[in-house]
Symmetry: D2
Amino acid sequence: MIVVMNPGAKEKEIKKITDKLEQMGYGVHLSTGENRTVIGVIGQRREEAAQAMEAMPEVEQVVFITRPFKLAGREFHPADTVIKIGDITIGAADLTVMAGPCAIENEEQLLQAAEAVKAGGAKILRAGAFKPRTSPYSFQGLEQEGLDFLKEVRVKTGLLIVTEVMDQFTVDQVTDCADIIQVGARNMQNYYLLRELGKIRKPVLLKRGLSATIEEWLMAAEYILSGGNYEVILCERGIRTFEPYTRNTLDLSAVPLIKQLSHLPIIVDPSHGTGLSGLVPAMSKAALAAGADGLMIEVHPNPQEALSDGPQSLTPKQFQSLLNELKGVALSVGKLI
Amino acid sequence: MIVVMNPGAKEKEIKKITDKLEQMGYGVHLSTGENRTVIGVIGQRREEAAQAMEAMPEVEQVVFITRPFKLAGREFHPADTVIKIGDITIGAADLTVMAGPCAIENEEQLLQAAEAVKAGGAKILRAGAFKPRTSPYSFQGLEQEGLDFLKEVRVKTGLLIVTEVMDQFTVDQVTDCADIIQVGARNMQNYYLLRELGKIRKPVLLKRGLSATIEEWLMAAEYILSGGNYEVILCERGIRTFEPYTRNTLDLSAVPLIKQLSHLPIIVDPSHGTGLSGLVPAMSKAALAAGADGLMIEVHPNPQEALSDGPQSLTPKQFQSLLNELKGVALSVGKLI
Amino acid sequence: MIVVMNPGAKEKEIKKITDKLEQMGYGVHLSTGENRTVIGVIGQRREEAAQAMEAMPEVEQVVFITRPFKLAGREFHPADTVIKIGDITIGAADLTVMAGPCAIENEEQLLQAAEAVKAGGAKILRAGAFKPRTSPYSFQGLEQEGLDFLKEVRVKTGLLIVTEVMDQFTVDQVTDCADIIQVGARNMQNYYLLRELGKIRKPVLLKRGLSATIEEWLMAAEYILSGGNYEVILCERGIRTFEPYTRNTLDLSAVPLIKQLSHLPIIVDPSHGTGLSGLVPAMSKAALAAGADGLMIEVHPNPQEALSDGPQSLTPKQFQSLLNELKGVALSVGKLI
Amino acid sequence: MIVVMNPGAKEKEIKKITDKLEQMGYGVHLSTGENRTVIGVIGQRREEAAQAMEAMPEVEQVVFITRPFKLAGREFHPADTVIKIGDITIGAADLTVMAGPCAIENEEQLLQAAEAVKAGGAKILRAGAFKPRTSPYSFQGLEQEGLDFLKEVRVKTGLLIVTEVMDQFTVDQVTDCADIIQVGARNMQNYYLLRELGKIRKPVLLKRGLSATIEEWLMAAEYILSGGNYEVILCERGIRTFEPYTRNTLDLSAVPLIKQLSHLPIIVDPSHGTGLSGLVPAMSKAALAAGADGLMIEVHPNPQEALSDGPQSLTPKQFQSLLNELKGVALSVGKLI
């Protein structure tokens, strides 16, 4: 941490600040420039200390020189995290495809979707029983009934299940039927939920918040990791910008950046990231080429009848043809799909 | 709802769409332009229907011509909502000031803050017992202990209490000690929480999400209203933009816009909205001049020792002097403070 | 400037960097923390030096501790800049209102608008002869003919004129008929134009770019100031965000922030800032309460016939009534209008 | 165009609007829903007409159902535009790589960069003689001297040249030495420049503005096309968002979206798009996989000595190795590099 004093700060003012820092247990190191004195602060990064400094009238600004994340960062954990679930690995050369409908609507729709996903070659089924919806008048999900359908389909098809949990009190309920627990974009900073997920021992898929910075996203992962659950998969799903043609702006630069900053696997959701099924194939290829560890894609047996997100869902046929096209792209960056 | 067909759509394609709309229970009205046929759809707005239409390959786009909010909208509820708590009214000519520290740190700090708030002339104390924090290593709030302190201070000072609830399962706990229940920006789309708050009969202060549009914000209010709780106070607290000098960009145009679109009262939080105590006085005045029904301001007995948000907190002295300055501005727009 | 070395940087690597800095003429000051070495760099801030440092593989990041603007900053120019034109002052207790139509359409429309502006009590007429338009098929302005109309109206009404210049080669042409030269948002970073405006001796109204940070805006002012023209008036006119209900998001916190960072006067344009005439009165009041030195407001004799920006223009009657309401707000913050 | 009347609009009010539309030469088509009357307007899209309608107090909103671009759109020009320069084609299966330093610093630096670019296998050299810089104190480019160096290097190496023009008055000067004329992001809406480029007969590379929507970008292309110059190459180079780790957010979804909406070729600049050389390889691959027609990459013989943009420049060695890696990705999407 660096504390920058106001221009022309007097010796007495500087001493007030360094005394306070020493009281807080920090070492200090003065550096006097042409107009400003800068205090190098030696010790652990703490938000509270930085805020206290910023609240001092003698201080112009406080600058952090270390990242706030520790367990999520590559600095102290250089090797990639690879997550194993049954015979599947996430974060290794073998790419992961999760696919399925946005929402579970009924047993038949789910089974048809699951069979399409399996036929396409994917091994993980995505489908939501709890649906966060902007409008109270929209379909809100089948909840426990949906989870029950997931369980059956899991047995029938052998697919692994990823599904969303919406609060800390349904974690057990969801964990009971899912192989991977999904945290949606709107819940990325639901800290009670994150803490609860720190206690379980199943992988968590953590979607990036709609307007979350990379740093906030890794701090959300830090909540889970600091609870002792080291299996976090990040999922880029688009951020909110001024561009109206796409539902969100898919930030693919997050992929190589996360690979530099963190050891956690990262997958990409081009369906929510664009909101338009016509853009999903191109953005799926781009995501793999950027180095993503996998994809999460919406597939619906009949998008025109979907209760949610039809416009961004692929048909089974489109999905199968996309997976075929992805093989070449994967190979070109040294991966398999 | 308007369904725009692809350019050059054939009669058969148009019929397919109008048939489907009629099946869904809608009336249809064809309008054929130079390049495109447009279908006017008569009936209730439903997201599901719009998405189904957008997923049809024959359809270019779907355009809504009504707003999605009903109970929150002024169209069917022209008169302003005025909320009464004891001898206080919110949403009327008498402006409301809520002030206090970001977090409850201990009994003494809370009492000092409360006294400063009261001395300044405000009647509602804000202070958080549950604190959503970006970092798992930051102070997370005193929780029940903090609520207990609030109760005592309420009795001692006669101030009303507004405090944040973070999930649907602590609603009772918080309602027990608070006069107004606050929903924080990160929870604006926590639908379980919103639904629970629809069931209680105490006013809810609903902060705008960090990147929520006005429409999404009113839809979050709609969740609460549609549960039967008609006492929702909106709170603008800044949105996320590219500008780094301020913590957020306070969107004051939301104030007159909300007044046009909705009958609900709206207050402004210039402390979170800017993140800089030096900007709070100017933005407080601006908020009142824009027509806000009140303010929420962070006040701390000693900002330099605050465990949270010191840099944006006013000292008791600054707060008192601000309230004096606000009187003239309030009068100039026909209000009292 | 602070150079942060990679974690675990070796002595030899640090020496390479300090040698290079010394070669560039900087003094250096080492500070060694728990994980990182930080180099305090003493000397003038230069972007080139910072970029050279960031391009070194041994360097993690470079942090500036001074602002890039000099002449525009308050640090070396504490007193407010007050601009005098005839018997008008801008930046003092007497607030400035500039009003008029977006575009000059014909002589009669301009004269009617000017009379409305004068009747309302404003002393400066705004109207554009050169119009930057998103579509090549839209009305592009009357150019020299429009400037001629402005000249006539200036004589007839005694109003001062502010009008936009779109490139460095029409500066003379525009200066010939205008009292204040306006730089539009799209030209805020047209450096050739800015440099040319540094050479003239008339006040320049510099609008904030659509997605310009405060720092970039002040750097654009710095271009003009560094050419020797010290009369720059800043104009906040809204920034681009994700909110679709308003044309832009008017960033009123820029007003008190500019007042802290800079000595230049700042006015606010609520017409472009919101795009909706219904929001202009509230945002005009808010701007004055926030401390703005004046307003720029679109007024059209007949908004429904306007060739440009009708939806955000006030009628003469609305304008007159707004100016009356503004008097109280101005007084409440110690100003006159 | 659709005109939506206020809820409950009376017959007389509706007639006022339809009369006015008919006066303007439009056909009208009424459609009456439960709460609102909607007027389908038949005839050419014109911004002026829409704004006039929006300014009517009886009208709630105006909705466009056609895109504003014509010549740039695929609707009336279904086949891809392919641009031929010598033996190079842009927009076909053979991908285009433009590479070189941000700024021309001196003859030797330019020649070294050009040789690196050629050795890497690229056929087009990029380098700027005119440099738009945020600070007036930064290096502003060599201007004519730089153009002269470009001419020499063009002869010596046989590389084609792409370089930026900053205003309408240097178009001849730049056209004289360049094979492709670049319009920078800050000039995307410099309409005088765009119109001048409509008159020349050399390809124009049009960068997307920092906060330009896809629609505004295509409208900027429309300016050039409507002047008679049909050779426009679009270049995505990142948009401004709230994410601070990257200089911009590279919007790769623009690539498939532009391919749907327009027939113009599109290339991607991952150097400006990210600002970090370490992210350039991944984002170059992603861009090709997304369907881009080529890349523009910053290469500097010695990034640590660069006068501009060193941190985002590749070394000659890194560039050569990247081009090798790109071959496989190109093949996987049916292209050649």
